[in-house]
Amino acid sequence: MTPIQRWGATAGILVLAIAATFVLDPYRNYLLAMTAAYVCATSGLSLLVGRTGQLSLGHAAFMAAGAYAFALTSNALAEADAPGPVHLLVPFLAAVVVASVVGLIVGVAGARLHGPYLAGLTLALVIALPAIASTFGGLFGGDAGLYVSVERRPDWLSTVIATEQWQAWVGLIVAAIVFGALAQLVRSPSAIRMQAVRDDESAARLSGIDPVRVRVGMFGISAAAAGLGGGVLAYVTQAVSPGAYSLTFSLFLLVAVVIGGVGTLAGAVWGAIVIVLVPEITTAITEALPLPAELSQRLDGNLAIVVFGVILVVVMLAAPQGIHGAVAALTGRLRRRRPRTAPPAPTT
């Protein structure tokens, strides 16, 4: 596919998804917007883990960086009475810039190294997040976080669609931009450099590739993507707080990447859908069961964590290709079956 065809395919999917928002009820549109936000983060993380072999356990922290940047910018613009389009777009720009700067700092420190170092560093980052928010409470609003005053949908649209549907549109458009850009990256020469660095650093170095630059670059890109996701979350929920970007949420992002299929963009979308739907399902189950209030409160949330943990282990051990691998195997088998029936089977 040429770059234009690839963008065209992304735009096609976007149009279909936007059409789908007309069928969905408000709550499902809200879930769709959340999924779109998660897609931004998981697609960047998936490429990071799968293409350059760097593991981040703290991608929620980059989402938080984007979300806080979005919130502060959006609130400042609201106060300055900025015109609508500026108030809508500039905060997203701020989210990308801040998240990539934070990502580059962390990347320079940790991305030069193999193995557990980057994972440990990003873990330390996401664990320090509540502490950062409360230490600089004047700016970030402490544990309670910030209220985000956002630009709502244009007036001429407000008679046609509901708030949740508009939020889903914004989320889908941002996700499509991230997805399209990363799809270009996967097909570019950079992708080959990344693979070389991942598979054999010495060989890559001999071929004139600078591994540090490739790793730090990919880390910055994936942090920027996560930051956009955080911006979408801030826009949709109109709130930012450290509790929303916990270690658990960060690990959910990793689960999404692994379930979907590490290193694939389609897998990142599958994964984002799974981490939105599974907690919905486990909550529905615990609510349906006749349990004492205390137990049901403990099950809520924790049950999803246990389920994800089990899925993570099982997928890693039994099906490391994830959902994307399963889908690809299935469609591949169908595709192969057709030509096989056409020519007569050679007898040996």
Binding site: G53, H114, G120, L121, S134, L303, I305, L312, P320
Partner: protein, 292 residues
């Protein structure tokens, strides 16, 4: 003067616990080249069972025995039941599987015990001993020191003076050669996991009374602190882990006393970034090449 001594004592005690937990990480790293990201959750699970024993019997000694035995059992289960089957194509795989174990353990602990902090009482006073006008150190701090010193000395003796320790070192150093010389490498690996998990569990049990209490997430921050300690000490150096642990314990206590408890995780984060930028191989590491 008194305040300085008290701070130093509290910092060293905190550091001793960090050192113990970091030692657990170093033990597994040396035995299997795996950074065990499940160490925190495994240790907290063992500490919860010890807590049940403590509440049931009231005996802290029995709780310590429980944490060691249960910790070793969890380590055995993790190695034989899970980590052994992880494909070793990429070092990331073992980390991801360990994260899966973390989620299962913390989720189950949350369901069984709830998210609130369980206070753990100890049979030692937390009030400092007075010598004349000078408050020196609390009995509990002393107790932590003694326990950590005994465990560290025991591990050192095990590795340097016994044939079992020699076999464990050999299989960590070069498993092929060790196997050719008749060492049961896979058994040594399992033993390494059991030893490490028992030590980690003990570290959590010792840390809990001075911190907020026991909760499913008690291990998170302790793991990050101990990981930083292990990195600074050099991941494969037990001596480095102990020295770096004590140093960071004092440093963290001074920082949190000056600017409040919330600054602790930020200080650790900054420290980790600086160390990774300046000297990623750690201060006491034997190996130079960590990039390959």
């Amino acid at each position: 003067m008194s305040t300085v001594l008290l701070l130093l004592g509290a910092g060293l005690a905190r550091g001793a616990v960090f050192a113990l937990f970091a030692l657990a990480l170093v033990l597994i790293w040396r035995a299997t080249r795996i950074a065990n990201f499940a160490q925190g959750a495994m240790s907290v699970a063992a500490a919860y069972l010890a807590y049940l024993v403590l509440v049931g019997t009231g005996s802290f000694a029995l709780a310590i025995v429980t944490v060691l035995v249960v910790g070793a059992a969890i380590g055995f289960g993790m190695e034989r039941g899970l980590m052994r089957f992880v494909p070793s194509r990429s070092p990331l795989n073992s980390i991801i599987v360990a994260i899966g174990a973390v989620m299962v353990l913390t989720g189950l602990l949350g369901i069984l015990f709830g998210a609130d902090y369980k206070p753990v009482s100890v049979p030692f006073s937390r009030e400092p001993i007075m010598i004349g006008e000078l408050a020196i150190v609390s009995p509990y701090t002393l107790f932590v020191f003694v326990v950590v010193a005994v465990v560290v000395a025991g591990i050192a003796l095990l590795f340097t003076r016994t044939s079992l320790g020699l076999a464990m070192r050999a299989s960590a150093f070069d498993d092929e050669v060790a196997r050719l010389n008749g060492v049961r490498v896979s058994r040594m690996r399992t033993l390494g996991w059991m030893l490490s998990a028992a030590v980690g569990g003990l570290a959590v049990l010792l840390a809990v009374p001075t911190e907020l209490g026991l909760s499913p997430h008690s291990g998170d921050l302790l793991f990050v602190n101990a990981f930083t300690v292990a990195i600074i000490g050099g991941l494969d150096s037990p001596v480095g882990a102990v020295i770096a642990g004590l140093l960071i314990g004092v440093l963290l206590t001074v920082v949190t006393t000056l600017w409040g408890a919330t600054v602790g995780p930020i200080a650790i984060l900054v420290l980790l970034v600086v160390v990774l930028l300046v000297r990623p191989q750690g201060i006491f590491s034997l190996r130079k090449a960590r990039l390959a």
